[in-house]
Amino acid sequence: MSALPLQTPSGIIAAPFDVEPIRADFPILGEVRVNGKPLAYLDNGASSQMPQQVIDRLVRYQTREHANIHRGVHYLSATATAAFEAARVTVQRFLNARQDREIVFTSNVTDSINLVAHGYGRAFIGAGDEIIITHLEHHANIVPWQMLCEEKGAKLRVAPINDSGEVIMEEFEKLFSPRTRFVSVTHVANALGTINPVREMTEIAHRHGVPIMIDGAQAVQHMAVDVQALDCDFYAFTGHKVFGPTGVGVLYGKAALLEKMRPFRGGGDMILSVTFEKTTYNVIPYKFEAGTPPISQAIALATALDYVTGVGLDRIAAYENELLRYATESLRAIPDVRIIGEAQQKASVLSFNVGEVHPHDVGSLLNDDGVAVRTGHHCAQPVMDRFGVAATARASFAFYNTLAEVDQLAASVRRVQKLFA
């Protein structure tokens, strides 16, 4: 396929985006055929694939560097500790955090959100207090807050969305009251692709003196994120959606807040001293890293972030924008196709239904043509309810996807439409 010329967000025409050398870095894209057809992997929103560099890093760690960290005086323990702490610095730079101690390794973004709900929420949110989320959230950014509300007698307030799938900002602001204690919003909506105006949301929250957490699970793989520019208080993401391994997540928190918070889990590494009378907690970020952390995963995640940074997130965003535009046009041209989520600002996520055909039938038939999409409620049932559907099919693109794969998707959707017409 020919390289696409690009218009980057900063407006500069960059060098064309040549996708073939990038694809060559992702072995699974070439290895796997489905039903005798080339694989079109369009389920990156659920989990992305790993480049060879990340796989190699895992292998190198396991063959030459592994031991437990922060506890041995021997060579391997020192090597593993250094690599793990270097990974923290890579994440710090990736998010442009001020200090590496503001980066906590967790097991996934769900874990990061639960950490804040416990560490901050249980300490500082009480009966009659209010927490604001939006209608776009993944269950991972609903349920921990609901559980907290139930425990404390606090109230969950939900900012509504319009028919395009955008948060109605006036309504969002109206939800603030003297009892508002916390805001948690997604950066990019996983079911619809909507990019929330998180900078503006942070400003609003801060104007009301309330801290804000951003769920970046669907954002960091698509766009450059600068937590200092955003000024958000917490930012979280998950390794396996940004070309890294499963089992590792990240929580960024402003140092002053992390220091005020209670530990989430108790155990090794999160303590300075333990007697049966009293335990003194470790400093941040270790206070939140009880037990042996996902060492190899964190180290490989750093390699994945370096890879993404090397390609360039501005160039990735511009290329994916082209994929999204082309995919949207291609599917819109098919009779009976309804696209769900048409926000002005969208990441490369395309939710759709084909007439009354159940998304699971769509997904099975697309699979026959080698096309992998997610079907179901995408752990965002409130979003489905808002649009009056039980489920959708969702194509989510990464920078290794191609226009030819969009054609493969569209041809397959056309076949489904004809079969059920």
């Binding site: 055909v357 159940h358 699971h360 039938d361 099975s364 699979n367 039980a390 079969l419 059920f420």
Partner: protein, 157 residues
């Protein structure tokens, strides 16, 4: 297996024009079936007179495989004795899970063998079986069944 082979004319037809759609007036047995993973959700109602299924109907929201399976199930069991219908439930379940080779031996599945291919589509087996299990639950006067969690009737299927 290619799922396209499963979406044959007969299945597409029953999906589009489901037979025995709705509720049986004055039903004696009913049950609700839920497959939370894909959202299939159906209700089966029946009227049993003298141990025979005088009338049966279903309704709900589901994928084509589930809906066609339910529709063809209702036409297959209407008029049958409960014991015969329950035997058919068992045969269908064995076919869908690959324990019964429809080309071998005797069975009573008839046109229902269009669902035989579902055994090679593990993600869809539950869609096809749900109506049958819901029927079985109605016979046993169980109000609700689910294909997930502790109630998963197919966990060890």
């Amino acid at each position: 297996m290619d799922s396209t082979q499963l979406y044959q004319e007969i299945i597409l037809d029953h999906n589009k024009k489901p037979r025995n759609w709705g509720k049986v007036e004055g039903c004696t047995h009913k049950s609700e079936g839920l497959n939370p993973l894909c959202g299939d959700h159906i209700w089966v109602t029946l009227k049993v007179v003298d141990d025979a299924i005088e009338n049966v109907a279903f309704e709900g929201k589901s994928c084509a495989i589930c809906k066609a399976s339910a529709s063809m199930m209702t036409t297959a069991v209407k008029g049958k004795k409960l014991a015969e219908a329950d035997a058919l439930v068992q045969e269908f379940r064995e076919m869908a899970t690959g324990k019964l080779d429809v080309g071998q031996g005797t069975h009573h599945l008839g046109r229902l063998t269009v669902f035989a291919g579902v055994k090679d589509l593990p993600a869809r087996v539950k869609c096809a079986i749900l109506p049958w299990h819901t029927l079985h639950a109605a016979f046993a006067q169980e109000a609700t069944i689910s294909t997930e969690g502790a109630n998963d009737p197919f966990a060890n299927a």
